[in-house]
Amino acid sequence: MIKFEGVHKWFGKLHVLNDINLHVTSGEVVVICGPSGSGKSTLIRCVNRLEKFQKGKLWVDDVPLHDHGVNLTQLRAEISFVFQQFHLYPHMTALQNVILAPVNVRKMNKAEAADLGRETLTRVDMADKFDSYPAQLSGGQQQRVAIARGLAMSPKIMLFDEPTSALDPEMIGEVLDVMVQLADEGMTMCVVTHEMGFARQVAHRVIFMDEGELVETGQPDSFFDNPQTERAAQFISKILTH
């Protein structure tokens, strides 16, 4: 589904992705963790081409992103991205947020899209907030709307960039519950997160990044309980103690 082959990326002189090789198969849930600045966001942002890379090959759903002339809007319609800061459209209601892309990208008719939107919002437990504006919602509710916005496109892949890091602790659970449910339904997911409980519960694989390198990869339990590299061990001890 997603295949990195020797991918390198630089921001100016900064080498942010260093020889990334990674294969994510359909239905797989991959958790990506690592210290701040290690390139996790950049890695998943390459998948829907929010970031370009300078070297290497990357296939997403068999589309070669390293080639010129890839139809990016078409590719992006198949991949949903959930941001740390939600980035809901503040001038639209929850329902309008969810149906904007189905109507304009999928060319669904409005009534059909509205049904789909209500159904999708209900799935993330936001059935009573169709007409609320983002500013009227809590962080956890906003993130669930953002997930519904992604889901409404029936994506093949969902990417999450620290989806619970901006949330008050009491709201993290409600968002993770939705994500667990998606994982159980077989969604292909790449999740940047330090939520170890989530990783242990649903991840098929945990990937550890440091300084732009993919340092270690393993089953969640063996990775967290018995890391193979010094850098991973140090990182895990840090997230355990705080």
Binding site: N48, L50, T73, Q74, R76, A77, E78, I79, S80, F81, F83, Q85, H87, L88, Y89, P90, H91, L100, A101, N104, V105, A135, R149, G150, M153
Partner: protein, 222 residues
């Protein structure tokens, strides 16, 4: 004495109303065209492509950095040397459009740049094309920043339109000039000119103030 004063006023009023109509036509058309191009240029200027932003920046600096009267003279008196001969009315509208577009471009670019980068990223991620992103996500949000100064700019541009009197367009200011040399009531003539400009500007000033208040309360929903 009073009676003849008012008689005079009544006498000249139709002439002034014609001038008002011309001012509205020149300023109105200039503002409409200037707004269209101002938005187009402003959106392009907010991009991160140097080859796009640089020439627009040069245009804006040239227009903002030179007197409007000089721009009008160039369009009306110099362009004919280059084979572009315009009557006073179209020349005035062209000049107003060029002037308006430059100022409006800066206001629009500022508004577009003020929209959070995350909004672009969210819209991009969902597969919207550039036109859809601008239309549904970016411009509606940018409008909140754009509208109050835009309306304020309209007021300034309407007043600037008085400058087109120099090439003979029969608008309010020129009507004032022509009248004042014929009759002794100079104060009355220019008061009338002022009052008529004010009659166009004041509603816009009120609108601008109202929008500014509403924006600061975050109530405006587009």
């Amino acid at each position: 004495m009073m009676l003849s004063y008012f008689q005079r006023l009544i006498e000249i009023l139709p002439f002034f109303l014609k001038g008002l109509k011309m001012t509205v036509a020149v300023a109105g058309l200039g503002l409409i065209i200037g707004t269209l191009f101002g938005f187009l240029l402003g959106i392009l200027r907010a991009s991160d492509k140097k080859w796009l932003t640089w020439p627009i920046g040069v245009y804006v600096a040239l227009i903002r950095g030179t007197p409007f009267i000089v721009q009008i003279f160039i369009i009306f008196f110099i362009l004919p040397d280059w084979g572009v001969q315009l009557d006073a009315f179209p020349a005035a509208i062209l000049a107003m459009s060029i002037l308006g577009a430059a100022f409006i471009c800066e206001i629009v670019a500022g508004g577009v740049k003020a929209v959070d980068r995350g909004q672009w990223e969210a819209a991009t991620s969902s597969g919207l094309n550039i036109i859809q992103k601008l239309r549904f996500v970016i411009v509606p949000q940018a409008m909140q920043t754009i509208l109050p100064p835009l309306v304020g700019q309209y007021v300034l541009l309407i007043k600037d339109s008085s400058v087109v009197s120099v090439i003979g367009v029969m608008e309010l200011t020129r009507v004032g000039w022509l009248t004042v040399v014929r009759i002794p009531e100079g104060l009355m003539v220019f008061s009338l000119v002022g009052v008529l400009y004010f009659a166009i500007s004041y509603p816009l000033i009120l609108l601008s103030n109202r929008m500014e208040r509403k924006m600061s309360l975050g109530q405006v929903r587009l």
